[in-house]
Amino acid sequence: MIWGVVTLTFFVSRVVAPDPTGLLVPPQATDAIKQAVRHSLGLSDPLPVQYFRFLGSLLHGDLGTSFATGMPVNADLLTRLPATLELGLVSLLWGVLFGVIFGVIAALRRGKIVDHILRIMIVGGMAMPQFWLGLTLIGIFFLNLGWLPGPIGRLPIGVNTPTPITHFYLIDSLLTGDFTTFSAAVSQLILPSLTLGLGIFAPIARVARTAMVDALDSDYVRTARAVGLSPTRIALSWSLKNAMLPIITMTANAVAFAFSGAVLVEGVFAWPGIGQYALNAIQQSDFPGLQGFVLYVAIMYVLTYLAADILYAYIDPRIKKS
């Protein structure tokens, strides 16, 4: 699967994308210089040769050198990955947490006001263009109200970056006891994670609501009620546990979604993660950079679905047996 994705990226980007030579040399450069640059990038060889060279170095963990930054792509991406992971995990955390909580509440209060409000929120969340939501939030909370900092990345200028331990600014600043940095990092994170998180919240809340409604209608819940268990206990320890499987599936999808959503959200908030790197790579015909990003995302997909499979088995013993 990863091979297929990588191969598709390779051919799409190489066969049709414009030649990046023009971006690297001054416009008045002679043809001879252009040829030399093209040769040094390995672009003068026939495509199959380029392809196998690309696959070969990939197996050694070498993603090539970025045309845009002149650095090894792998190094570029690794320095940027923590920023994306931090944003992604925070968004995921609140998206899933609130999604499940609201979904469960709506299912318990089906047809009531709360339920209707939630359904409208879900439709709005599913239909929300995230780049616009990001801009609008910046407009409201930064420009008008001045409550939160502007779109300038992970930390404002003048605030020390914490000593890298986990490379997550939130955790590192806490570990080193640097609360100024911590609160600065938190305020930088609020708007982008709200933007990205809404796209996670909406589908999770939807699935959680549906799954809970199904679970509450089931025979075992009727039995539990007949036995006289308290409604809270039934909802939380019986119904929710059974509703968890679809919620986990949707969470895996949401993680996958978060990585592609990250491209635009990181662009809007100048968040220095791999999404922004991919956006630049596309705009500058930086094939190695783009291929590297796609490979990273493909690996994340595989890891995410693997994690979901492991969680299934943990929650539903029937899956472990088979």
Binding site: G124, A127, P129, F131, A256
Partner: protein, 288 residues
Amino acid sequence: MTSTATNAVQRGRGGIRPLNIKPRRTMNWTLWAGLGLSGLLVTVSIAAQFWTPYTPTKPGVGDPLMAPSAAHLFGTDKVGSDIFSKVMAAGLTDIGITLIGVALAFVIGTLIGSLTGFFGGAVDAIVMRGTEIIQSFPALLLGMLLVSAVGGGLINVVVVVAILGFPGYLRLARAEILSKKSMEYADAAVLMGNGRLSVLFKHLLPNSLKPLVSFSAINASWVAIIVSSLGFIGIGIEPGSAEWGSMIAAGRDQISNWWVTFFPGVAILLLAMAFYLLGDAFADREVQ
């Protein structure tokens, strides 16, 4: 809480279920909201081809960056064009690309999917792997990749959107046909002397269309967002043209004048919502 409990218990008994009218009411709500919203947007964007308050492309019909007022409902942008007229005129681009792209994906995906599902074999296996590869890409990223490869412009964006979307239809159609081809009415149709293709297209496919239609509405909501995202990045339709996403991109450096980006975004949101509501309503109806 007790009343909820009794309700649920009653609903649990199979015989009472049809009397419960709640789901039907919500279905109607989403259906009408979806129809109304999409009808309104389509009407306005078609009407805009004949009449807008000001010429949408004309700069200087008002002062630059005027806040919304009675004369300029949505305000003016940095060259003094009327944003209300622009949003109206841009509707046809976004709605048109979305609908044509979705229609293309629907037809191609359904056709290939029902053929491979019906005949199976090696081609089927290869096609399935191919769609898996396309689908394991982050859709927006693949869209950006393809558009930046083939260049922007109306037709290219439509084609790219169709490429992103068709695997979904293909897999859905294939699954539908697979589940129906061994049903008795399919056998009966063959016994009546129908050719294999006519069984497929006259009998199996028409019975499989419902889930495809409801999928296409959900798909359209997502396509509308992709199209505007491409415009926002500046690689979709030519920058500066009448398209909601590129209008937002153009107003991006002046978000302190909130109306420049706000209204085109609301338009995208409403369009995506309209399709999404329709999809929801169709899906509910299907369940019943």
